[in-house]
């Protein structure tokens, strides 16, 4: 028992170094991980799809995909996992760590880029480095799918307009015959340049177990 604890403590320490979460947060997340995986070592897609709260999320598929996407693991790998372990789970989660008061400007910039990359990967399903119109349309369709009366037609139109917008901001002098193939990551960064991401792409991971206490302190 004691040996197991030290081992897990050691493991937590590794993960802390890798992901930047505090040991308490990792413990919390691990608890959740076990809950999701029915105490298995790995999680499969089915596990995540079963989460009732997620059922109403219009982009559920994309979110789940993001967890099984090797590109989100910072290891320059491409492809998809069939099942992910706790470490991979944490790595994906670490995209959403909020900055602290100590975070420097460069680190913030890096974090922002990371988050943008995460979003970009959500769009770019075939991993060719560009978001094509089809890929964009698909996401918009999913986004709008829960809002009822708006048909596919409108979703398509909006995606098209959005695409045009990207094209017009990034390639201002385009000849009429040119064709804009897709959004590259640079363009993607460009269009979301002024967008406030700090308040939108962060989760306050709790240090304390949610079951026992509702509002714990996050590490500051």
């Amino acid at each position: 028992m004691g040996a197991k604890q030290t081992r897990s403590a050691q493991k937590y320490q590794d993960l802390t170094d890798k992901t930047g979460f505090s040991p308490e947060q990792i413990k919390n997340l691990h608890k959740r991980f076990q809950q999701l995986s029915d105490n298995e070592e790995t999680i499969s897609r089915e596990n995540l799809e079963k989460i009732p709260a997620l059922a109403n999320n219009p982009i559920r598929k994309q979110i789940i995909d993001a967890f099984f996407d090797k590109r989100n693991q910072h290891q320059n790998e491409v492809g998809a996992f069939q099942e992910i372990g706790f470490e991979q789970f944490l790595m994906v989660m670490s995209h959403f760590r909020p900055p602290t008061l100590k975070t420097t400007e460069e680190e913030r910039e890096a974090m922002r880029k990371e988050k943008l990359r995460f979003l970009f990967n959500m769009h770019d399903t075939d991993n060719d480095g560009t978001i094509t119109l089809e890929e964009y349309r698909k996401v918009v369709e999913e986004l709008l799918s829960k809002s009822g009366a708006i048909g596919l037609e409108a979703a398509k139109a909006i995606a098209d307009a959005a695409m045009l917008e990207v094209a017009s901001t990034n390639v201002p002098h385009m000849a009429p015959d040119d064709f804009y193939e897709g959004i590259t990551f640079e363009h993607f960064e460009q269009i979301l340049k002024g967008l406030e991401m700090e308040s939108r792409m962060h989760i306050r991971f709790l240090d304390v177990d949610t079951m026992t206490m509702r509002c714990g302190k996050s590490k500051s």
């Binding site: 139109a157 909006i158 098209d160 045009l164 040119d178 064709f179 406030e196 989760i203």
Partner: protein
Amino acid sequence: MDLNISRRAAALLILCSGFSLLCGCRGEVPPKPTGGVTIVPPIKPDNGPQAYPEAEKSNLPVFTMDYPRIQIPFEITLWMLLASFAKIGFHVYHKITIWVPESCLLISIGLIVGAIMHSVHEEPPAVLTSNVFFLYMLPPIVLDSGYFMPTRPFFENIGTVLWFAVVGTLWNSIGIGMSLFAICQIEAFGVQDINLQENLLFASIISAVDPVAVLNVFEDVNVNEQLYIVVFGECLFNDAVTVVLYNMFSFVAEMPVVEPVDVFLGVARFFVVGLGGMGFGILFGFVAAFTTRFTSKVREIEPLFIFMYSYLAYLVAELFAISSIMAIVTCALTMKYYVEENVSQRSCTTIRHVVKMLGSISETLIFFFLGVVTITTEHEWNWGYILFTLLFAFVWRGLGVLVLTQIINPFRTIPFNLKDQFGLAYGGLRGAISFALAFTLPDNIGRKQLFVTATIAIILFTVFLQGISIRPLIEFINVRRTNRNLGTINVEIHCRLMEHTIAGIEDLCGQWSHFYWKDKFMKFNNRILRRILIRDSRAESSIVALYKKLELQNAMEILDTVSGDISAAPSIVSLYEEKKSSAKPKKKFLAADLRNMHDILSKNMYKIRQRTVAYTNKHTLPNDSQTKEILIRRHTSIRRSLRPGSFQSTMVPKSHKYFSLPAGQSLDLKFPPARLSYTDDHETLSEVAYPTRRSRSGRPTRSSSRAMMPLRRLDTLTEAPSVDTVGDGGRITDHGVSRTNSSYSDSHVAPRRHLNSSNDNDSGSVDNLRNNHHEAPEEEEEPQPSSSSPVWAAEPRDGTTRNPLLRRPQWNPKKK
């Protein structure tokens, strides 16, 4: 007496002529004589009675005057007019308002007027009594801030906002009150007669911050959203807290002895008042939303419901002596979303404008009045008390922000850093509310004079010193910024994408935050609330809403460049459009998707059209929506035709867009010329005059100057060769050249210009331009059949939209 008159008249004339010089608008000049007469009338009643006996001899007086009868409304009107003139004056001169907040300028003008009045021993009109203030001046101010509260950031930061507003205000009033009471114990200052209750009362008055000036600065430098919303929300809710405290303390101040029980009762009452106000607000908000569900037949009075319900909420709350500010704010917050979907676009614009107008008039008056009162009333100046008031106000605010952020930061995803805290603390300007509260203090408070003086001192100090220095300081310390004016579809899509992602990830980790609650609320809202409260309840994603808005903007931009007319189109945007629209027109579109874009555009225009048609059938204004519809659609097609052209030949001035329009004709074809007859012309003409007067910040001058230029040019073009042949030629080449035939008709542009120019040679003014604009459809009826319009007929929508009743569902499949 004569001297007085001439002096005043001279001063006013100087003021007014100064403004009118600055404005340069001809429309503003006519009221000037009344402005000049402003304070003359008070003397007239003296002369009146003398003249009167003579007139009495005859049976029917030919000329009588009854000044006392109209005195009060008359003077109020003149005051408002003068204050508004002041506003025009320094708004025209832009450089001032960037560096000096408007409130400073208003107070300065008030000071000048006060000085003039003082020198002629004239009393300011006794307008500002407690009742007038609470029943008439305060509601518009809070309604304004409540209605324009940015909803999303507010609810995302609601905890912090309330924390700062409620606890911060309590902290400030109690802190300042206690320390002032301590100061009062020092004999040297000679203010020992001020007891604790009065000190607390005074402290609660001066702890109401009113950072309108700061908000303007924040908006200009794009300070981050969290800071902005906290300052905004703070000013809103601490008004409520302050007024509650004020009532409580002024009640307590009259009591000889305060028992401990009273303190507890006071605390209990505090909650009853606050929560009760909120309850009433929500109730009235929903009732208002529900009412507007049924107003589709009486569009003219729609805006009235909004004002009446919010005022009713205010009055009822006042009746039960609960927080009326809370009531009106929550009422506005609740109903805004639903009402704006129910009412027509134009009513919506009206509501927004009237809310803004009433709010700014009230505030202007109070600031103006503050300036006047500063000079004209007797002051009791006590160096010690006033300086310590200033010091404590500053120290307690700074301390409060520091301590409160330390407490709230662990609960925030994005903690406030020191710079934010500085912005928060330094943004604590005192303003109109404080002054009004002090000025309406009951007379039985012994040191009322001193309180008024101290309040004025602190307002002047904060508004002038902090208000002017905050912009350089914020820019200097480089507070975290957010660009809040990103009106692009991509941004909206990604905001939603991120929200859903976060909500999803949170679900995955089994945590909840406001995203979770937002998700839940949206579901509840879409399932139940919308169904009850909104007539045409289709849940609409914010992406779609933004998308529609952008398209509308595009259309209206053209309307604007043509005539400065914005009333014609449904304009949600009119209050915001200035900034955004400037970014939009540069858009250029790629060939492959152009056609798609057109579909979208037409679809959108079509939808709006349905809406307009649907509600105008019982309208008293005949037909005008239809003309507008045509206008919009015409312009859509103009835009379409010009977008590609605009970057190929940049030499062509912008305004040529309008004159070169080849477009619209295909659209107009389906409307028989009779329907566009003179009544329509008349109708829109009358509307042209109105918005140009209303539209702000240099826009009218710009557009009119632009409009003039092409006119001159066109005159030179009148001798162009016969219209039809050139037109045909142009079209033929067009056919050959452009792949996407609907739009790349650069060559097309020129011939059409000739066509229109032949109608235009007599036009010399903007009005004519307008006229011409409406005659154009009729003109175009003739060439259309003969030239068989190959280019425009090629557009998919032409044949199908012919019947206005044919709706989108029917014609979509044909195309796809």
